[in-house]
Symmetry: C2
Subunit: 201 residues, 2 copies
């Protein structure tokens, strides 16, 4: 078994991937990622997450269509003047096509019968982040997207979700079409304070 990448290598090099090679992703790899997701912390350890792994071509197309509609009807206009041009082109091409090159989507949901509605985001997004990191640790590409949740009702209908299961994120997943460069981040020193907001780190 080849050695696994270190936690810091994976975290510091994580980057959104939106274009994928035409290669399938095995159940075994997805299961590694899903197992990692379910080891996240959650309020009262209630584990109110639900994952819908979408590989069926027709479901993928319908899901991609919701992403692209959300993009056309508001996302693009909102982002066009705000994103750096290369990032905008990347996102625009992927969202417009409904992430059509992704062989898998994982829809991450919160179960409001299991966790309190107000604690779902703090309980479910850490699990989604574990999933993204585990995927990166396997060499897979992913991205955290929430665009499609703008069409919550349509998304719930498509996935046959009962009313207590709320979709919170849609993660396209697959083998990256090209190597991803290093992520661009503002230094933590500009985001960190000591004891109180009047005292920068």
């Amino acid at each position: 078994m080849e050695s696994e990448p270190s936690i810091f290598d994976v975290i510091l090099n994580q980057r959104a991937c939106r274009q994928f090679r035409d290669d399938p992703v095995s159940d075994e790899l997805l299961e590694r990622c899903l197992r990692a997701a379910t080891h996240a912390p959650s309020a009262e350890n209630l584990q109110p997450w639900i994952f819908v792994v979408v590989r069926e071509a027709q479901q993928r197309r319908a899901l991609g269509e919701l992403c692209s509609q959300a993009w056309e009807r508001g996302g693009r206009a909102h982002s066009e003047d705000r994103l750096p041009a290369p990032l905008f082109r990347d996102v625009d091409a992927a969202a417009q096509s409904g992430f059509e090159t992704a062989p898998v989507f994982i829809v991450v949901c919160g179960d409001s019968n299991v966790g309190l509605a107000q604690t779902l985001p703090s309980s479910v997004f850490p699990a989604a982040q574990n999933l993204l990191l585990a995927a990166a640790g396997c060499g897979l590409g992913t991205a955290m997207t929430t665009l499609a949740t703008a069409f919550r009702n349509e998304l719930m209908e498509l996935l046959e979700l009962p009313s207590h299961v709320l979709p919170l994120a849609v993660l396209p997943l697959g083998w990256p079409q090209r190597p991803l460069g290093p992520p661009k981040r503002i230094p933590f020193q500009e985001k960190t304070y000591r004891d109180r907001f009047s005292s920068p780190w």
Copy 2:
């Protein structure tokens, strides 16, 4: 330099820590964790996170007091009959004392001037999870808590936060008082569906 733990070792063994040894945590280690946090994905890569690292004794006591008040006034009654007895005893002891053994708290906030209010949770909780994983990768203990955010105004006043910086989680952090056992998790198969909710994994 000793070898870093693998991404899967850290993720699969992450567990909440609520009792800490009386040893300080260096700036260097905190900076590793904060750097990891700032490498999380965020909507439009806007990075709307803010971290307030609280080590000053008086600020820690005041912050702990908010946690314990939130616990006394609602958290305990809500959790008492729902949590397994050993977990409840652990949480109760730690929350009642305001996590008094923690040498550091990191308050994770969202900046609504930088990110849209509705995308703050999806942009900030992945960063918080990165921080927890990085801490675990360094041998530190932490827990994701949101109790104190029930007293948002008091918390904002204590940390001198401007109105656009919203506290979303409070992470006590330090060296674990005792080794943490393996986390208890529901198998992912019970939380996962294939293509639609009518089709279990």
